[in-house]
Symmetry: C2
Subunit: 297 residues, 2 copies
Amino acid sequence: MSETENTPFERVALIGIGLICSSLARVIQREGLAREVVAFSRTEETRKKAASLGIVDSVADTPEEAVTGADLVVLGTPVGAYAAVADTIAGHLAEGAIVTDVGSVKGSVIDAVAPRLPVHVHFVPGHPLAGTEHSGPDAGFDTLFQGRWCILTPLEETDAAAVERVAALWRRAGSMVDIMDPSHHDLVLAITSHLPHLIAYNIVGTVTDLEDQTKREVIKYAASGFRDFTRIAASDPVMWRDIFMNNREAVLEMLGRFTEDLSRLQRAIRWGEADTLEALFTRTRDIRRQIIAEKQA
Amino acid sequence: MSETENTPFERVALIGIGLICSSLARVIQREGLAREVVAFSRTEETRKKAASLGIVDSVADTPEEAVTGADLVVLGTPVGAYAAVADTIAGHLAEGAIVTDVGSVKGSVIDAVAPRLPVHVHFVPGHPLAGTEHSGPDAGFDTLFQGRWCILTPLEETDAAAVERVAALWRRAGSMVDIMDPSHHDLVLAITSHLPHLIAYNIVGTVTDLEDQTKREVIKYAASGFRDFTRIAASDPVMWRDIFMNNREAVLEMLGRFTEDLSRLQRAIRWGEADTLEALFTRTRDIRRQIIAEKQA
């Protein structure tokens, strides 16, 4: 392990303490990566819960209080709140502090945050590709990031040493770290994560509109396909609202391709084109094999 | 346990020995529900595999040979093959034999099979709501049906004792058994299983059309949403082709509702209607809670 990876932070401020940041707090505690961890949450209920879980050293009533004296600040609120948070903390950030985040979109996050931060801090946008359908500080656990990718999308001018310190933090959490262009990140995530969530939310929404008798039976007999979708569609509503509001173009692009392809399938079913269906269904098996191989590699 | 549930069958013929029928064979063996189990498969490779697994007493080279002397015949091929199988076995079925099936659609199965069977047999259409994305006799296991529903859709004229013997078999497999109207079954399954599979196949297909570099990254970073979809889209291509060909109307009806709803979401994203998204995403959480409650009930 390199020297950098052993260097703990002095004071880590977690702005928002939901699934991701509470999991990170547990990692920092387990690995001894900071002398002090302070968490801010907008609601008193969450602050109390975070404190009672014993995963942070203290909770702060305001973001300003949390970031004061911190050498690492982690933004972990829904991304729609980032601009307001950045405005609030900007005047309280220490010289040389690193500001990073865990948001699922990167282009709009950079647009919202970077211009609001003082020049004497280092902004390292990040996205750990990990999560569950559960929310809140009690939903976190210290192995959430184990074996998962974390993508960092630093700006051209970002200090390389700051990027490396954030990368080292995620490696201690068990993640593999990659550097990527923000807009490419947003395109890849639009298809791997955002569109699947949109579709899952949509099909579960379609079910809620069914007449009561049928809806009750759909719930009762939830076969594996639908059950998986309901799990995805139980994810945090505000977080996901903000993702779609902030990755609009990439999601609309992928959604356009998806609906074109779905129209073709619809037509194949209507006109009994069995070969079209079988050919597609055979082709998609191969992608699954590649994903399984990738995880073994 | 009632006397009926202890009565074993003399000879069970499994027509097709994939995931479902091989799992049923393991249940029959474990529970001692038949003196003899014989399996037919179209390919020699599968027949050899079934024999070498030791889960059946013998394999037959033809469906006629398999059903001769059987008091229970289970159709377990893709549903598109049922009519041809029924034609082949009709003249070889014993007086009073029960013919059942495990197909995922019921209306078209009844139309295809019932008129082809002799009057001296009992036809009890069935559908165990269980499965995995894996196929073939080696993919089966004896707990596949444990805690899952099995839906029977007998015709009005079907002998009640025959229905009860099939129900008892599934209960010994660990399933809960419900009786349902075939067309209602097909509507409920269209939304709980068929549409989710179609959508999963479609999104994975959309990915296969991406340019190579992006496709490689989608596979590498397959986040939880997409990874779940690829698992579903790895299901047996011929089985699913036949399901869509045989549950056309119900699937098209549900697909129509789904795409209408998706267009509304697309518009909400394009025009930045955050409230529309949040309202839907909050509503869908509730369905998940109901499904979890139902499983506990």
